[in-house]
């Protein structure tokens, strides 16, 4: 089930907004609105994005979900070259994309080109739904448009994928532009677990441990633990940023900040108690 997040729902990032604005500019506003509630209530059951094509199932009023299929024009090789050149021109584009964000200044890079990632004309898109409603977009298609905004929000590469190139291909193409000659190598599988303190590294109790049963290695380890204030206050909060589900609720963010401060003060008082 594709539940939408947040109250306002769709398009908290600029590119998702841009996507919706592009659709609205086709004069679809009122029809799109009908899909919004569907999307918000999780009626879009799944979405599959492949180059030039989106497939989705949407739960309508009937028992069987409707099938929605949307086609979008992919970019030509020439157009892609232009896009990729633009992307490779500044490291910040790749940096932001890889960090999960659509670079906000990517537009100006594209504006000099005759290429856009977003649909310009209604005919760039064609959609089909198995529902009996003749309107296009029907509310099922509209719901998928909304969910797409959310998906682009989550992973900016999906927009590229829809236009014909997936993440791997794009990164490789940019890398090739960065480095003069590329030699293809076989990729290795991603691996590695989160860095936890290895549990197995913790001492096993064996027969020998009965000797020091009461003492362990307390005598020889001499562990010193300093209770000291942080170098930068609320470092974790600063790094994590606002919780996504707190969007717009300033009082709750402030509350959390105050809690952190309160704990720090109390811990210092206790830790420094004479």
């Amino acid at each position: 089930m594709m539940a939408s997040r947040g109250k306002k729902g769709f398009g908290s990032s600029w590119w998702a907004k841009q996507w919706l604005e592009a659709l609205e500019s086709f004069g679809w506003d009122s029809r799109l609105t009908r899909g919004r509630a569907y999307a918000r209530n999780g009626n879009v059951l799944d979405v599959e994005i492949s180059p030039g094509r989106v497939k989705a199932h949407v739960q309508g009023s009937r028992k069987t979900p409707y099938k929605v299929e949307i086609s979008m024009k992919t970019l030509s090789q020439y157009e892609w070259d232009q896009v990729l050149d633009a992307l490779a021109s500044k490291a910040i584009f790749s940096a932001k994309l890889l960090a999960g964000e659509m670079p906000d200044n990517i537009e100006e890079a594209f504006s000099s080109l005759e290429v856009s990632l977003f649909p310009r004309y209604a005919m760039d898109l064609s959609a089909h739904c198995t529902c009996p409603d003749g309107a296009n977009p029907c509310k099922h298609i509209a719901a998928v448009y909304y969910i797409l905004a959310q998906e682009f929000d989550r992973d900016p590469f999906l927009l590229f994928k829809l236009r014909g190139m997936n993440r791997e291909q794009i990164m490789e193409a940019i890398r090739n532009r960065r480095t003069s000659a590329a030699e293809p190598m076989t990729a290795k599988k991603e691996g590695g677990l989160p860095q936890e303190i290895e549990r197995e590294g913790s001492s096993q109790h064996d027969a020998v441990s009965l000797i020091n049963y009461w003492t362990g290695k307390m005598k020889s380890m001499d562990i010193k633990i300093a209770v000291e204030p942080p170098l930068v206050e609320q470092s974790i909060l600063k790094r994590l940023g606002e919780p996504p589900f707190f969007a717009g609720k300033m009082d709750m963010i402030r509350q959390l900040e105050q809690d952190y401060k309160k704990v720090l003060l109390r811990a210092i008082t206790v830790g420094y108690k004479d």
Partner: protein, 1034 residues
Amino acid sequence: MIVLHVAWTGRSFFIWAEQELGSCTQRKRGRPPKNPGGIPHPFQAPVSKIVSLLSLLYPGVDWGKVAKEDKLWILLPTGKRMPLPSPGLSAESENGEYKLAGWEITGLSVPIPTFIEGIVACNHDEQYGDEGDSGDGHLIFGDDWNFWVLCGRFVLRMLCRQKFIPSLAPGEEGGVVAVWQPVFEDPEDRGILKRLISAMPPVCCGMIKQPKQHAELAMPYDVIMDYLRVATDELIRTWLGDVSQPDQNAPVERKWLYALRGRERRIIAPKRQIEGLVKGLKEWTAVLRENRGSFRTCLRLEEPRDGSENWYLSFHLQATDDPSLLVSARDVWQMNGKVVTLLNRQFEHPQERLLEDLGKILKIYPPLERGLMEPRPEGMFLTTDEAYFFLKEISVLLQDSGFGVLVPSWWRERKKRTPGVRLKLRPAQDYSDVDSVGQFGLDSIVEFDWKLSIGEETIDYEEFKQLAALKKPLVRIRGQWVELNPRDMEAVIRWLERQKGVKEVSLKEALGMVMYVEDDGPDITGIDSEGWLHTFLQGLAGSESYTILDTPPGFCGKLRPYQIRGFSWLAFLRKRGFGACLADDMGLGKTVQVIALLLYERECLGVRGPTLLICPTSVVGNWMREVARFAPGLKTFIHHGTDRATGKEFVEKASRHDLVISTYNLVHRDLDILAMVNWKGIVLDEAQNIKNPSTKQAQSVRKLKSEYRIALTGTPIENRLMELWSIMEFLNPGYLGSRESFRRKFVIPIEKHGDERRAWQLKQLIKPFILRRVKTDPAIIQDLPLKQENKVYCTLTKEQATLYQAVVEETMERIAASTGIERRGLILSLLTKLKQICDHPALFLGDGSLLDNRSGKLMRLVEMLDEILSEGDKALIFTQYAKMGKMLQTYLQRAFRREVLFLHGGVRKDERDHMIERFQTKEGPDIFVLSLKAGGVGLNLTQANHVFHFDRWWNPAVENQATDRAFRIGQHKNVQVHKYICIGTLEEKIDMLIERKKDLADKVVGTGEAWLTELSDDELRNLFALESEAVRNE
């Protein structure tokens, strides 16, 4: 004796205690517990006792009210009948195997906040044993207690540094609950966690929930993590307190925020909302869970090279396991392909990794964007202000986020370069020759001045003001970058302007200025001095600062080079009337250095009059013997005993001698007459005896008048600050300020807050007056023999002397009246009895009576072991008598609250091997008592660096064989051998006989003690007669 324990139950703490088996009211003997947990622990302390003990130790908590009586089951190593007692309790040794079995324990359940705020927060550094008298002898904190207190500090550290996040967890009764979770992302915290895991006493994992459970210890990791999670959540929500409940229709995130505080953890909301919250939280905290693999992105800040303000921030990949391995961005952009091997480390997509990280760093540090505007960026320039912000804030955030950051090394040291003042001292009078003319002392007048400084650098007033006016946080001063806080600088300037006026004070006052700068005053970053003052303040650090003297002509023997340096140093300070503390390690010969000084001042400085030496009763005899041996020319008498001189008689007697030896006990009692003498000097041996400044002894010694004072101690006093104060107060009264101000200024900041600046200041202050050499110092080792033999002369207690005399008189009559085999038998049995009396009256009487204060040897042994153990050394103690060995084991175990091993003839081979193995591990026991027969051969006990012979065998071969257990050729550490001898008894006389006649020694080697039986009545009478000096008489 009571041992306090605490266990973690998963929800709260559980405090319980063991006590001596004999002191249990209910002497229920445990049967071998077949079903774990069925049987109450046989020697646990009653709950009422624990409550009164806790109330005594931690009066801030109403223990009767807060803690609830409870029961739980704990796994303990169990022999045939009994659980293994913790070290320090006299064990009823059960031979054979120990297996884990469950015991029922009754104790107190204590909530986490109470334990942390009531106990952990008050962690006294001192030992309580002396004060915390539970009415039942001593109190020991079990290592499990110490462990959980440490863990409590760890939680406080995590909370204080805000290393926690709000989160969700499945509730115990289904649903979800809001929790606060600790975040272990800082390598330092991970390090502490690792060390805690490996230090953890296994008993901490021995909690079992049900009595019939299969007996198995939990994993340390699980126990600690469980505790850290629960305690973090519990403390934070308790501290935040309850808030008013949101209404039912409030959004789920508001309910979550509410459930993070106070008692109620549960979140009641529609399933879908909760799922949304779970997903949102996961996304929000994703950064904290990321794996960065073998390489990570690293930013390096380089300071401007050319005097410009252009800082450069360069981009790199850095090996996570070797931060020095850097790959510059320039090289990364050259790397073709997806997988790259660098120095045997393979990793994927280096370019994308670097770019992705830079993208993430952008979110923390937006100005980075500027540096990413080209296709292959390698770095970017920063202004000084930007660099400061990066250093101060961003570098920490990046490191916390798992990125590498390299900054100029001075940044870490910047606290040493803060604005402050330096004290400039100049002698008001200049002496051309430091050593011979200058009779300066603490009362000498010196000129002083304050100089503004930044770190070590002195800055003149105008320049300092200009710097302050710049109002720049980062400034380059004489080529070095310094972090400046303009407000601090202005405060320093204001303070300095108030200081005008006095320019000349006594040296003592001048040095005291460091003490008396107000708490909010500027930091004193150093003391600059000129002339002899400089020489003096350098202390021993500048070896040129005092003249190296010749060994005084009257000294019989040879001083080692470091001993000559030490005695020259004592003479140097003595001439100026400064008190000196000689704190060399045990065995380096503090005694001979003082004897050399006493001779020197009388032979070379023309000093006439007595010096007073105060020492513990146990070493009076040793001093006597050492003075007689090295300086027979010194006229010495011992002031002790019931027939000691009083009043005028004493004053006259003292004036006719060079050295008067007395004891700490008498200082207070005889203060009146001791104070009547104008002493040339006062020497305190084992000066730790006045470590508590409020005792009568400490107060009394301070009242005595003398020209100079010396303190001797073998314990490192720099780390025991109140002891340091007390000794310095004796040596140079008033120098470290009042006790209260010293506590405020140094003890609390240094011991509680680890204030390095204060520690450094204190070190500067005391440096001129303390000389401490350690035996591991390479410069000292080369002067020391690998095996160093000392005779330790002890005195008899009155009880010992009375017994000794009675036995001699009674037996000598019978010996005189007998012949042949009977005579021999009597002689040998007399010999044995006397040797036993010298060891301990209880050994001779065999009555199992108490051991305290009845044997000179035992008292001395405890003192010496105290010093040895505080150095982390290990010791072997040999005795001929198995009973003595058992008594020593029990007594030392109590005295030092730690396990003492005892090997005697009755120990089975496998047990013996086990003991040896344990002693040889660093963790194992530190004291090993061996009966000479059992421990003579075939043992390898090289962990020991001290060997005691509590009594003598008179057979060097046997003794050496024993000694060689600890000493092996090629061993790198020195071994000290201490042979105990009672003065004025047969022990000393036989020792002298052997020393005097080597041929006799050879005879002895061959025949043991049999030759004694050949002596005549008169010879025997002489040998056995007790000389008057033998007795300590108080």
